[in-house]
């Protein structure tokens, strides 16, 4: 069996004799538990942020990519003819699933947030809007623009690219920041546990000297410390994860009016993700303590 695998097996199975030789208390115990707990708590939020922004980026990208708008501005007598011409063009355009002209009530509803409910849409020179729903890989916007320019001079195609791209980019960046935060949290956890392990190893220098004196192999000594620290990190991270999950649960549920801020929680099977934090923290502690212990033991006679 490879040494790493053997160490992992020993960690899971446990060694009651090795566990007994390390003093059970000390300031490093509470330090490790607290550091792992705090990091797990932060990791839950970073995870929630990453997943929420990921969902947002996907939704914005997906929803906006599927629809476009054609705006027709024409003299009053030509508006209906140009609308009909645009719809004919769209009927024969590849990648267009459907197209329809918005009726006056829908157009009024769109303007209502800015002008109020009493806007006389009929009396104002408001452009006619055509909603275009795409299918498959979508249409070729350049080709459609050229055809509209030739056949419907008052038509302007808005495929939402202009404002969709920065939104999706912003959401993607936020997601990236979330994942980077997770990596930094993991690295910080490793650093903190390494420092705590080094402090514990130094504080237990006498224990290590005695163990070496009576013929303990380095693997035995390392195992005793590694298992202790791994279990502490697991316990602390489990506590931090539970508190973090409760805090996420207490956030307001997702609402349209609240936008992004109310959609920060986990959804559906994403609740499994926080459960991975304690084992990951334990893994980080296992690796960090093992490295620190072997480095220190190597320097002893």
């Amino acid at each position: 069996m490879r040494p790493d695998l053997k160490a992992l097996t020993d960690l899971i199975v446990g060694d009651t004799q090795a566990d007994r030789v390390v003093p059970p208390t000390g300031f490093t115990a509470s330090l490790t538990v607290f550091a792992a707990g705090a990091m797990a708590f932060l990791a839950v939020f970073a995870l929630a942020l990453s997943l929420a922004t990921g969902r947002l980026a996907d939704r914005w990208g997906e929803e906006l990519a599927k629809s476009s708008t054609i705006r027709i501005s024409a003299p009053e007598g030509q508006l209906a003819a140009q609308t009909a011409a645009a719809l004919r063009v769209l009927e024969t355009t590849e990648g267009v699933a459907s197209a329809r002209a918005l009726d006056p009530e829908e157009q009024q509803a769109l303007l209502e947030p800015w002008f109020g409910p009493d806007l006389p849409v009929d009396a104002l020179p408001i452009p006619q809007l055509i909603e275009v729903i795409e299918e498959g890989g979508g249409f070729d916007p350049q080709g459609l623009r050229l055809r509209l320019a030739a056949e419907v001079p008052g038509a302007v195609l808005d495929d939402h690219t202009r404002w969709r791209r920065p939104l999706v980019e912003a959401a993607s960046r936020l997601r990236l920041l979330g994942w980077m935060s997770l990596i930094l949290i993991g690295a910080t956890t490793a650093v903190m546990i390494t420092l705590a392990a080094n402090a514990a190893l130094t504080a237990n220098g006498q224990v290590i000297r005695v163990l070496r004196l009576v013929g303990a192999r380095d693997a035995f000594i390392a195992r005793a410390f590694v298992r202790r620290f791994t279990l502490r990190a697991l316990t602390g991270a489990a506590g931090g994860m539970v508190l973090g999950a409760i805090a996420i649960l207490l956030l307001p549920s997702e609402q349209v009016a609240g936008g992004f801020l109310t959609g920060l929680g986990f959804q559906g099977w994403h609740w499994i993700w926080p459960l991975t934090i304690p084992p990951l923290a334990a893994g980080v502690a296992f690796w960090a303590t093992r490295m620190a212990a072997w480095k220190m033991l190597k320097d002893l006679p």
Binding site: A18, P24, L211, L213, V214, G215, R217, D218, P301
Partner: protein, 225 residues
Amino acid sequence: MIELENVAYSYGGGELLSDISLELQPGSFHFLTGPSGAGKTTFLKLCYGALTPTSGQVRLFGQDRRAMERDDIAAARRRIGVVHQDCQFLDHMSVADNIALPLMVSGRDLLAEAANLKELTQWVGLKERANARPPELSGGERQRAALARAVIMSPDVVLADEPTGNVDWEMSQRLLRLLIELNRMGKTIMIATHDLGLIRAAKSHVQARVLRIASRRLHLAGADL
């Protein structure tokens, strides 16, 4: 068993031991004497592989100390029981657990060894103190517990560094009797001490070789002791 050949040991630019040659034969009994600071503890550390000689060769059970892997040294230490003057216990464990420590680190089943452990604790007169913590023991009790720990693995060699340094005359005689008893069981014994009375007391019971460290070198003494 343990052989030193032209061994020198330097520390911090100064030579502590020079041109030391010695072979510990199975079943032999040695006293190592000399003034404080002469290098007795350093000599013992060389004997159990805690120090590497600056020059010369130390062989532990036929293996060159310099060529030994760390696990080989650990294995050799299980065959060498060491009694320190300051005992070196783990204070969070009971006396019985401290005595059983070499069994624990070698992965032996403590339940299977329980009878041996009990017998050994009785042998050193600590049966009633088995569950006490080391700080609760007197100087003599600590030394006896350290001796029990040193011999629990039934080592080939027992090295004792000033084992009677912190105990009264009666207790030092008791410890000496235990060490002589071990020697009669076939164990090689080396006791580092500056207590000449202890050496004189031993001479009527055991054939001991007395070595003296002086001016960084090892000399055979004894006729005048």
